[in-house]
């Protein structure tokens, strides 16, 4: 290990966004995002490994991965393949989609009490419901299955709680065509209430989030489907009403088919809304209504909206044909491309990205609609690999290209837990995963309702969250981890309570910590600072507190929470 660290130290410096040599910018040599004249300087190999690791697993790279890349930079490609096969990719994909699908909200119309469950299960209840559609997508994305399965399979994913409270029956991995479980505690399952196959668009989790008020007649659900799966947002078009003709119910209903301001949307929206009446609730807070799909209501659109189900002009013989219709819609794949690329590039993909989206879409199709093919294409793009801008970069590039990213609350919580064993919870609530009493939006996340876009920049609130998280996690390490026999420890494996800064083991431990937290060796200056910190705190508060101080510093260092 010492020899390896010495090699690392000799080869690499440390910084928040270490970049490679622009003259050997491999990032611009290949991939659909490649351009003739590069405008960026790519990250160096270790920084790129860390970025990819955090984007694909939500965690910093393992030390052996760092060592492998240092030994052979091309090893990174094999590491990516490992990551794309790992269960962590599934969780990360779900988290990435959570920022866009916004299903992880703090409350639904039904509560934990509606099902007679203990109130202490509230967080788990809300989390499980919101995670169902996300993890289903992630399971398809990580399995060797075409993405169109997301809207056509006749199963979903469920944990023990959902299996208990919803009409679900667990099915085998073989039946679902999976090689391993979707996530720890989650299994493939099939609804038993008669709902047709349709994957994501037949999940309770999606339509509990996007429920319909009585007077909305499922239009909100239709708009949500178009927005989420087709990137076709009916609601973005400002409209101006000729309101004088809308003042009685009949003319209001007529207006949706006759008023020019209304027709454009409603001609498509209403027949699509008619396809969601199996999810229609006669009482929007009644648990039996919310829990079950209602097959007998599938044609109620004719009664309420005056139209039978259609998919953008194509009649549907019931919602059973909705999933296949989405799967056949070219907008579905293009939208998926935009969502996945946006998640990996940490920005909104717009119409200005048309040509790049088309190139990624080609890669997606070339991979037989496996999401992995799309992901590889985005990861290979110049923009993804960018660590700094060249002088040739435009002002638009300055804004758009995320040469450095901030960890999301999910990434932060998962990374800290992976390294220290500490998960910030209170009364069972994941404090970086809720906003009732927690700190999700303070840390830069979305609550799915009032705050719907992730924060890309640090703020005072985010830094305060980070500070307290670092303090708590660091103390947890020294009180829990350090108390274990060395061979059982997670982090402080090379020292004990008597180790001083003069011991060789001390520097070894520090260097290992740097590799673990920052994915690269420490600089001499950093080691000197941390040694001085250790000595000062050890003198005042003891060795354990000194290690806690060092760990807190490593977590708050921008080399940890940015990538």
């Amino acid at each position: 290990m010492l020899a390896l660290i010495a090699t690392l130290l000799a080869l690499h410096g440390c910084g928040p966004a270490p970049v490679g040599d622009s003259g050997t910018a491999r990032a611009t040599d290949s991939g659909p995002g490649a351009v003739a004249d590069p405008v960026t300087i790519p990250l160096d190999d270790l920084a790129l490994l860390r970025r990819r690791s955090l984007d694909l697993t939500g965690l910093p790279p393992e030390p052996d991965q760092v060592a492998a890349v240092l030994e052979d930079p091309d090893a990174i490609e094999a590491i990516i393949e490992d990551m794309l096969r790992s269960p962590r990719w599934r969780l990360r994909f779900a988290d990435m989609m959570a920022e866009q699908f916004l299903t992880r909200v703090d409350s639904f119309n039904a509560t934990v009490e509606s099902y007679g469950l203990d109130p202490s299960q509230e967080y788990r209840f809300e989390s499980s419901v919101g995670t169902e559609p996300l993890l289903l997508m992630a399971t398809i994305a990580s399995a060797d299955r075409p993405w169109t399965d997301v809207v056509t399979v006749d199963w979903t994913v469920a944990d023990d709680m959902l299996l208990e409270i919803w009409p679900l029956q667990e099915i085998s991995l073989e039946e679902a065509g999976l090689s391993d479980a979707p996530a720890e505690g989650w299994r493939p399952a099939r609804y038993t209430d008669g709902r047709p196959a349709g994957g994501l668009i037949m999940t309770n989790g999606l339509w509990w989030r996007y429920w319909s008020a009585p007077a909305n007649y499922n239009r909100g659900r239709a708009a949500a489907l178009a927005r989420l799966l087709l990137c076709e947002d009916f609601l973005l078009r400002p409209i101006s009403f000729d309101a004088s003709s809308l003042l009685d119910t009949d003319s209001l209903l007529d207006a949706t088919s006759s008023e020019p301001a209304c027709v454009g949307c409603h001609n498509s929206l209403d027949p699509l809304a008619a396809a969601f009446y199996g999810f229609w609730w006669f009482d929007i807070y009644a648990e039996p209504e919310m829990t079950r799909y209602h097959p007998e209501r599938e044609w109620l659109g004719a009664y309420y909206l005056g139209t039978s189900p259609e998919y953008f002009g194509t009649p549907l013989n019931g919602p059973v044909e909705l999933g296949p219709a989405v799967a056949d819609d070219p907008r579905f794949l293009r939208c998926t491309t935009r969502r996945v690329a946006g998640g990996l590039l940490h920005r909104e993909i717009t119409d200005a990205d048309q040509s790049q989206v088309s190139a990624w879409l080609d890669a997606f199709r070339d991979a037989d609609l496996r999401v992995g093919g799309l992901v590889r294409a985005v990861l290979a793009s110049e923009e993804y690999r960018a660590g700094a801008l060249l002088d040739t970069a435009s002002e638009d590039d300055e804004v758009a290209i995320q040469t450095l990213r901030m960890m999301s609350p999910d990434q932060l919580a998962d990374s800290v837990e992976a390294l220290t064993g500490f998960r910030w919870t209170e009364d069972g609530f994941d404090q970086l995963g809720n906003d009732d009493l927690g700190y999700r939006i303070l840390a830069g996340g979305v609550d799915g309702v009032a705050v719907t876009r992730p924060q890309r920049d640090p703020s005072v609130s985010q830094q305060v969250v980070l500070r307290l998280l670092a303090q708590g996690a660091a103390d947890f390490v020294v009180t829990s981890d350090l108390a274990l026999p060395a061979e059982e420890r997670r982090l402080l494996t090379g020292v004990d309570g008597d180790t001083t800064s003069a011991d060789p083991a001390f520097v070894d431990q520090l260097e290992t910590l740097h590799l673990r937290f920052h994915g690269r060796p420490a600089t001499d200056d950093a080691l000197a600072e941390e040694t001085a910190l250790f000595d000062a705190v050890a003198a005042a508060d003891g060795t354990a507190a000194a290690w806690a101080a060092v760990i807190a510093l490593l977590i708050r260092d921008p080399a940890f929470w940015t990538y």
Partner: protein, 406 residues
């Protein structure tokens, strides 16, 4: 005297003449005709028993069961301006929220309070305080300090947010924490110095700036309870306290209606009455609180803070089969306090169609050749009240001059 005042490291909001704004957002879509926009005897249907009244030249409707409404108009009408007939241009909650606060349907915009806060020429500790309600701050997250609807920031600052957690942990000694803080600051500043052009440099600059505020914020948390906001009045009091101390320029609080039952009354129109009564009671309390606090110029804080009361949409003029009202694109807004031409009503609604009339922006009078009001006019007015240049951000939408005193 707290260190951040003694040190003089930070400017105090208000001392530069930059206006301050407290936003109260009524989420769900209010029905102005149930209180602030009398439409009795028109195409609009209302709850029974409403009677029209006026105070300080502002007409309103109320009932005996809503005493706080009359009290509010009588006590605050002389510094209240109401704008009617603003067309949100959508009837979907999400989109109307964005429109009403950013002027655009597009995601990724910046709302009025965060834009004003970010425009401040001063280095404020909490440029915008987001306590509850909608927030759009794509480019201004460095200016927005989220407090949390249940006072989460307070628990972060005093450490109880960690020590009350499920895993037993101890916080470091003050000296150890201080040593770590100093090293973190050094590393952030060094990283920012080398951040370079583009997003990396911007992100690290913002991180260093945010980190530079933590010590002051912790000190503030030790003397000010940020967790006291159990309702919008309490949350507004926190914002007022921060404004009185010169620490913040804008704030957002949400009022979800009486007992949190939402303004989105598709099936229970009588709730609007309860909501407005509670809103007006709260606004009276907020104004009394601002009156009792001292502003930076020596007078009451209410002379320096404008309260902006918004909802994302109005409600359809007819009562539906469930005894409620559905969404409507036309709505009203209220401006209260500093810089506001009191006793003013701008615009109005067509009694036959319940659409907004065009107005003369200067006089506020109805004018067929005038302007059809949209949320960006409210935004421009907000900028003007804050002392910012509306034309820079919204060149096509002049402010409603009639709302602005003088």
């Amino acid at each position: 005297m707290p260190g951040w005042l003694l040190s003089g490291r930070r400017a105090r909001a208000g001392t530069s003449g930059e206006g301050r704004l407290l936003f109260v957002f009524c989420t769900g879509g209010w029905d102005p005709t149930e209180c602030i926009a009398p439409m009795l005897g028109t195409v609009v249907e209302n709850n029974p028993g409403l009677v029209e009244a006026s105070a300080h030249g502002i007409p309103f409707v109320t009932t005996e069961e809503r005493p706080a409404v009359r009290e509010f108009f009588e006590s605050c009408g002389d510094r209240l301006a109401i704008v009617h007939g603003v067309e949100a241009r959508s009837v979907a909650h999400d989109v109307c929220l964005r429109l009403m606060l950013t002027g655009s349907t597009l995601p990724g915009g910046n709302d009025w309070p965060s834009t004003v806060a970010a425009s401040s020429s001063q280095d404020l500790l909490l440029p915008m305080v987001h306590i509850s309600g909608p927030s759009y701050a794509a480019d201004h997250s460095g200016s927005v300090v989220r407090v949390g609807a249940s006072g989460q920031l307070s628990r972060l600052l005093d450490g109880s947010g960690m020590t009350d957690g499920d895993l037993a942990v101890d916080l470091p000694s003050a000296e150890a924490a201080s040593r770590v803080d100093a090293l973190v600051s050094g590393r952030l500043q060094a990283a920012a110095a080398g951040g370079g052009r583009g997003r990396a440099g911007q992100l690290l600059d913002l991180a260093a700036a945010a980190d530079g505020r933590i010590a002051d914020l912790i000190e503030l948390g030790g003397e000010l309870d940020l967790s006291g906001g159990q309702d919008f009045v309490g949350q507004a009091a926190i914002a007022a306290e921060l404004m009185e101390r010169g620490l913040c320029r804008t704030a957002m609080v949400e009022f979800e209606g009486w007992q949190g039952l939402s303004w989105d009354t598709h099936s229970d129109l009588p709730l609007q009455g309860h909501h407005f009564n509670t809103l007006m009671e709260g606004l009276s309390s907020i104004m009394a609180d601002l009156d009792a606090r001292r502003g930076s110029r020596g007078g009451p804080l209410s002379d320096e803070v404008t309260v902006v009361v918004l909802s994302e949409m109005g409600r359809y003029p007819r009562i539906n089969s469930r005894g409620g009202k559905d969404h409507w694109t036309f709505t009203s807004a209220m401006f209260l306090g500093a810089g506001v031409a009191g006793g003013t009503v701008v615009g109005g609604y067509d009694p036959e169609a319940f659409t907004g009339f065009r107005v003369d922006l200067t006089t506020g009078a109805l004018d067929d050749g005038g302007v059809a009001l949209v949320p960006s006019h409210l935004g421009a007015t907000i900028y003007a009240l804050a002392g910012e240049d509306p034309a820079a951000a919204l060149p096509d939408h002049p402010p409603i001059a009639a709302v602005i005193d003088g």
